[in-house]
């Protein structure tokens, strides 16, 4: 019944689970924001997430050290980013398609390694929920905000940091300049290629962490194709957020909370077919954009390779 949805339990549930579900989107989408701001569309996020998730899981499983797992995810993500950067910056390959290539590579490779190295589904002891004395005990609010693992908090911390870097630092200025007008940036002495390398590798690293946040923090398990399209949603959320970290945060939270709302609708026996309920987050994300017509322009040089006039 719909009326059953209006209770404190449900509210806490939706908010808390929305905050958790948004975590991988935040890492991946903030990373993608950086690369798009510098003019590079990376559609390979899903593949980077999968390889990151596997690397983190496998290393954490074999060494028993979660931080080494994190490190592995970051390295694998960065290496994928490096390859993507080489292909799109030096070889000036069509960005969307290279991204699809890297996605397929990550999808296949993570599954192959999973089958060959592990043989079966296993679990690992991931990052535990952090109990914050005082805060975690606050009724309602404690359950919603202060009952998560470390990677969840770090994801939210990433948003202001990303905002600061993009808007308040020289590096951010360079990134934006390269994304808006690479020729002008170049003539002012900015190394366009180097900036793009930086953002793409950063994006890959963050996607790797996004994968790790699933495999060794939220789920503590690896399964083939476990990201199930989240990387693509993350790319979409960058557009939702109009290339601003705060907007991305809004999109990630909206999508995730509607997703947990539909889970609650099913649990509370709201009489609609499950498939229709599952559609809700996707439909609503589009609808919100339609209603709040945004006039923010994409970075002018997005998807355009840069070549110095010699």
């Amino acid at each position: 019944m719909i009326s059953d949805l209006f209770s404190v339990t449900v509210l806490i549930g939706i908010l808390a689970s929305g905050i958790r579900l948004a975590t991988p989107y935040l890492y991946a989408a903030v990373g993608e924001t950086f690369s798009q701001r510098s003019g590079v569309l990376n559609l390979g996020v899903e593949g980077q997430m999968l390889l990151g998730a596997f690397a983190a899981f496998y290393v954490a499983l074999t060494t028993g050290n979660l931080w080494l797992g994190m490190l592995a995810a970051m390295i694998v993500g960065a290496v994928m980013g490096l390859a993507m950067a080489y292909v799109t910056v030096n070889l000036q390959a069509q960005q969307g398609i290279s991204g699809i290539g890297f996605y397929l590579f990550g999808l296949g490779m993570s599954d192959l390694l999973f089958q060959k190295l592990m043989g079966t589904v296993e679990t690992v002891k991931g990052f535990p929920r952090i109990y914050i004395p005082g805060l975690s005990d606050i009724p309602v609010l404690g359950e919603i905000f202060f009952n998560h693992n470390l990677l969840v908090y770090l994801a939210y911390l990433l948003v202001p940091v990303a905002w600061f870097v993009l808007n308040k630092t020289t590096l951010g200025l360079k990134i934006r300049a390269v994304g808006e007008n690479p020729d002008a940036a170049d003539s002012l002495g900015v190394n366009v290629a180097r900036v793009r390398y930086f953002t793409i590798i950063l994006g890959g690293t963050l996607s790797g962490i996004a994968g790790a946040s699933l495999s060794i923090a939220l789920l503590n398990v690896f399964q083939q194709n476990m990201t199930s399209g989240q990387g693509f949603i993350a790319v979409a959320l960058v557009y939702f957020g109009a290339w601003r970290p705060v907007g991305v945060l809004g999109g990630a939270l909206l999508f995730s909370m509607v997703n947990s709302l539909q889970l609650w609708m099913q649990v509370k026996n709201v009489p609609i077919p499950p498939d229709i309920a599952v559609m809700l987050p996707y439909v609503l994300t589009i609808l919100v954009l339609v209603v709040t017509v945004s006039r923010v322009r994409a970075p002018s040089a997005l998807t355009k390779p840069f070549e110095r006039e010699e």
């Binding site: 397929l104 999808l107 229709i276 589009i286 954009l289």
Partner: protein, 383 residues
């Protein structure tokens, strides 16, 4: 001048073969992976070749695989020329297939020569709707098409799941406890003709004919010219009096329509019914994505997309055969496809470089005497 033309011919041939070289290079990397899996790469690749081209049946399978790729690629040629990115091919295929299947299951008393064209048309329309919505939202509400097409893919999958296990379920399955989510089978009269004993069906021909039509549309009609003009420079197009918004909608709509037709042809030519495994690719075989790759392999040109789709189709079919012969996990096949895509798209730089050299040569030769021609050549290089 004659010498120039000749070298031009050679370099164009090299351009055409570039994707093949790049694919071979990717397979070389794949060979290293195979070695680590303790598989003889030569045996593996021989089986890949055998699976793709080794017999009449393999060749037929390759073409069957290439058909949806080509159709999606044609749509991609249109939308990318119009500078809109359509990654909603998966959803558009699904919606096109749903509507086309509905026609075939509903009007069983009509003859095949009525139903088959009607179904193709509804498939086309279904895709047009599913592609037109993101187009409309982009043009009039500034909703980015990458976002909306990604979301619309997910919505289409759930719509399919809902319909196939509910309103459209095979009546025979509705009786059973297991309730396999599939529609009834199309009656024999409604199936596309096949070149027996293979699975090669008439859809292949439809796709090739449409490739020619899309070429004509893009380069021989005003609509095509305007789509390209909007894609090339929307501000200039607007200044020239073109209704830019309308053409944004149109290019996504047409792009979706071809994907929808691909879905309809998969049902009428290959599966004869819709079945879902809960995901999009179970039905589409990821043609909605792979078609984008095929289009790019074909330099966004409808005619070149034909060999490009065949190449990519051959790779997909052959790699599956390789999986069976040398018994590697199918995950390797997916990773290998990814490598091929990356290599081919990276190899484009040499084509562009030679194009630029050709352009420079033409410039040198013609100097300032015939500036018009240089402009044309420049345009070609950019287009």
């Amino acid at each position: 001048m004659k010498k120039l033309l000749q070298s031009d011919w050679v370099s164009r041939l090299l351009d055409g073969l570039l994707p093949v070289f790049a694919t071979l290079a990717a397979l070389l990397v794949g060979a290293v992976m195979l070695l680590f899996l303790k598989v003889n790469p030569i045996e593996a690749y021989l089986s890949l070749w055998d699976g793709a081209f080794g017999s009449a049946n393999s060749l037929a399978e390759t073409l069957v695989k290439a058909t949806p790729l080509l159709l999606v690629a044609l749509g991609i040629c249109i939308s990318f020329r119009g500078n809109v990115i359509n990654i909603g091919g998966e959803g558009q295929m699904i919606v096109g297939a749903i509507l086309a299947t509905w026609v075939g299951l509903k009007f069983t008393n009509l003859p095949g020569w009525v139903i088959i064209p009607a179904a193709m048309l509804t498939g086309f329309l279904g895709g047009a709707i599913w592609g037109g919505i993101p187009g409309f939202l982009k043009a009039y509400f500034s909703v980015n098409e990458i976002l909306s097409t990604v979301m619309m893919n997910a919505i289409a999958v759930q719509l399919m799941n809902f319909l196939l296990r509910g309103p459209m379920i095979d009546p025979a399955q509705a009786e059973l406890a297991s309730k396999i989510p599939q529609t009834a089978r199309l009656i024999e009269a409604f199936r596309l003709a096949r070149f027996v004993p293979t699975r090669l069906h008439l859809g292949v021909l439809i796709a090739v004919i449409l490739a020619i039509l899309v070429y004509i549309l893009l380069w021989r009609t005003t609509i095509g010219y305007r789509i390209r003009a909007v894609g090339h420079n929307p501000h200039a197009a607007k200044y020239a009096g073109i209704n830019v918004k309308r053409y944004i909608v149109l290019s996504l709509l047409l792009s979706g329509a071809f994907a929808g037709l691909a879905g309809a042809i998969q049902v009428y030519g290959v599966n004869y019914r819709m079945i879902t495994d809960g995901s999009a690719s179970g039905f589409t075989g990821s043609a909605g994505f792979n078609g984008i790759v095929a289009a790019l392999f074909g330099q966004l040109h409808p005619i070149l997309s034909i060999p490009a789709s065949i190449l990519f189709g051959a790779l997909l079919v052959g790699a599956n055969k390789m999986q069976r012969v040398v018994q590697v996990p199918s995950a390797l096949v997916i990773a290998l496809n990814g490598l091929v895509v990356v290599f081919v798209v990276s190899s484009e730089i040499w084509r562009r470089r030679r194009q630029r050299q050709r352009l420079a040569a033409v410039r040198e030769e013609e100097t300032a005497s015939k500036p018009g021609q240089v402009q044309v050549a420049e345009k070609e290089a950019k287009g």
